[in-house]
Symmetry: C2
Subunit: 474 residues, 2 copies
């Protein structure tokens, strides 16, 4: 057991189990060059986009097939050694960190689009396919996959963390859009969940049990997701507001009226400033909503007029339109680059990202008090949000040489989560629990519900080898 680190109050104990040399030998025998123990490879697989750094896995297996995954898991199981699935490494809550040691199974080479069923609006892919790759592959069919968490994440990883992002307000999250899975269980068995039918009442919903289980119940080796017809018309608009409150109150009203808006993103004045500096956009440095409307030409027009009317009532400016695909791409790229723009604004900084989500009527209460607290803290931050879903992210920019900043940022996050839970919301809208929110999960779900999760975990993974130490302590 390693000594407690400076972060021991924030992350679970690091307690790497011993990895028997016999396992490494067996993996090398089975996988040859596709099993690496090089430090640089292991380190790359032992971190994600979170600010944590802990010891890396003992080996990395590059799986090229479901059978590869099954064999690696079976070998690990024989030696009771943890297994951590790895997609592209874009998770945010320490999911990939080998806190209990073990091996990483990298599925990024399992990146085939297996079957496009355009006439059923479904597609089946290997877990290493990324969302951009998927959309490229289905482009010629006139369909698209809407879930867009910003990063070009893998579909396997997005399933494992129940990801969502900018389009979720209209199209739902991975919870609503995964139809079925192939999964390698803790014993190395291959099972299938779900079918390609749009709905089913056939037994326990294993698909949705696996979606969001963060690799703790199995390794996802195949995913069938829903696709949607590309809307006849798409328009994106920017609207600047005199205050965050005005932007938020506009959003609340839009949602309550049932406007089927496809995207409605809040970008605070800090983010606009950082994005301007990074992407040279010349946007007005005020809080803004970045919106997208999908539908028939008439429908899009109706929606936009209604939203413009609501925005104007709250002091919003006239919409600035981006109607060509190129202009839209430029805007959304800027939005997606907010994180990197922020990091660039304070070279060498570490980012702590929050992820609360509350019922839409509570959004103003939750968000505005937290903005006040963040402003008072003196810590530089940016704020972006999928506000149509009641979900938003503060990014606190920390100087790694000033541990006191981390304490302040964690306090801000703690107060924000407490507020969100009081308002009947959740500590994580889309990033997952990982290492960082285990205590919050207990507060949110209650000890009884978390114990039920633990009971399921123990039953399905009796040796506790599937990404152990994530979601809850076990």
């Amino acid at each position: 057991m390693n000594a407690p680190t400076a972060l021991s109050h924030l992350v679970p104990e690091i307690n790497q189990r011993e990895v028997a040399p016999a396992l490494i030998d067996a993996l090398k025998a089975r996988f040859g060059a596709n099993c690496s123990t090089a430090l640089v490879v292991r380190e790359q697989h032992g971190r994600d986009e979170s600010s944590f750094e802990v010891p890396p896995p003992a080996a990395v297996v590059f799986a090229e097939s479901t059978q590869d995954v099954a064999d690696a898991v079976r070998l690990a199981s024989e030696h009771s050694v943890p297994v951590i699935p790895f997609g592209v490494g874009s998770s945010l809550e320490g999911h990939l960190l080998a806190v209990q040691g073990g091996i990483s199974i990298d599925v990024s080479r399992m990146n085939k689009v297996l079957s496009i069923n355009a006439e059923d609006l479904t597609v089946t892919v290997q877990p290493g396919v990324t969302r951009k790759q998927l959309n490229e592959a289905v482009k010629s069919t006139g369909l698209f996959f809407p879930i867009d968490p910003g990063a070009d994440a893998s579909i396997g990883g997005m399933s494992a963390t129940r990801a969502s992002g900018t389009n979720a307000v209209r199209y739902g999250t991975m919870r609503e859009n995964v139809l079925g899975l192939e999964v390698v269980t803790a014993s190395g068995e291959i099972i299938r969940t779900g079918t390609r039918a749009k709905k089913s009442s056939a037994g326990y919903d294993l698909t949705r049990l696996m979606v969001g289980s963060e690799g703790t119940l199995g390794v996802i080796t195949e995913v069938t997701v829903r696709l949607y017809p590309l809307p006849e018309a798409i328009s994106a608009a920017i609207c600047s507001f005199p205050s965050i409150e005005a932007a938020v109150r506009t959003t609340i009203q839009v949602i309550q009226l049932g406007v089927p808006i496809a995207r409605v993103e809040l970008i605070d004045h800090n983010s606009v400033r950082m994005v301007n500096a990074h992407s040279k956009l010349g946007l007005r440095e005020e809080p803004m909503l970045l919106m997208e409307f999908h539908g028939s030409p008439t429908g899009v027009k109706e929606q936009a007029e209604l939203v413009q009317e609501i925005a104007s009532e709250h002091g919003g400016n006239a919409f600035e339109w981006a109607s060509t695909p190129e202009e839209r791409t430029r805007l959304w790229t800027a939005r997606h680059n907010a994180y990197f723009a922020a990091v660039q604004s304070k070279p060498g900084c570490k980012v702590i990202s929050t992820d609360t989500c509350v019922p839409i009527s509570r959004l103003a209460d939750c968000l505005l008090d937290s903005v006040k607290e963040a402003d008072e803290s003196g810590i530089p931050y940016f704020l972006v949000g999928h506000v149509g879903d009641g979900n938003f992210h503060f990014g606190y920019l920390l100087d790694p040489n000033k541990p006191e900043e981390r304490v302040v940022a964690e306090k801000l996050n703690h107060d924000l989560v407490s507020r969100a839970l009081r308002l009947e919301g959740t500590c994580t809208g889309e990033h997952g629990v990982g290492l960082h929110k285990m205590d919050f999960l207990v507060t949110e779900a209650g000890a009884g519900a978390v114990e039920m999760m633990r009971t399921i975990k123990r039953a399905l993974d009796p040796k506790n080898i599937m990404n152990p130490g994530k979601i809850f302590s076990i």
Copy 2:
């Protein structure tokens, strides 16, 4: 153990466990007149709308609160006696039958609407609230709850069977519309799953594990569901077709084009005939689609014009419109009464109802071959379907005095399910597995996945008291 019945090849062994007199005494002491052992009450709680009849429970507890449910479950657990939750008794697959004995917990008196959060589009209800009661309660808010399985089922029961129905093609099923639950577990503990936030990545999706678990993992004592703004415009239309095939092909094209149609129901000529006789509607006795369009006035018009165009290409007649709420109610009531109209068409008959659901592109293949087989069988039947979802129901009308008819009907169902599974569909789109589809579930999901369900069941209900013998043998 009872002797095998004539249906032993279709239903699991009836093996009622002994219910200790001490348990009945304890229940009577705790619940007084709210615990009944009268045969007529027990018999009423030991059957549903399926064609099965097996021994009733040993007692019925009428729960009036979550604490009542928890106490009843705890007492049953102490005596290792099964517990079967009961809502309104409208399930279709033998869910309520006391095949292993035990007690029924009737939650129909837990029928309070606990909180309407109109500004968040959510409502929290006790499990005995029915869908019509719920819609009546939220009427003044301008919102509605879309899930409509036909029967005025309880929200608890609809959650437990993952119900859907006519509006699912646009609004999804209980899977998509339940946000959170309160559940009494097998040990009598009360837990909560989910929050009122629209999305969450906080740990295992216990909500969706419970939704569709058919009472085998716990008793649902509170449900939070999503509501939707009443559309600005609603129009319903009937379109008659020269053949079932023409109606089905129209549906497929409508879905593939992404028309956001709210309802698209197939009613075959048999059903129309029965409905005409029952409800005096004077409808043209040909296969028809009964459709509903929701949206802005322009949006509804656009949708309807597009669908009319597609229908005409397939030989469909001009739409007959029902634009007033009264006309719409009359039409949908007729649709919902199709089952009773069918029963009335053959007095004294029993109905076996099928429930396959396939990817939309496979709908014609699956449905037309099954129509041919049904026609050839000589068994009277009707066919209705939520065809926009690829889900449809044959109802075979059996003379209970002719057991050979049952054998023929079961063969028809078996062939239909086999066909649906070959076409990547499911044996049950919305009714659940219950007693009737346990074998089909194994074929559909595979032994490994069913064993995973069983492992979860064993872990969460070690005494196997929660509605045992349903979904899978255990």
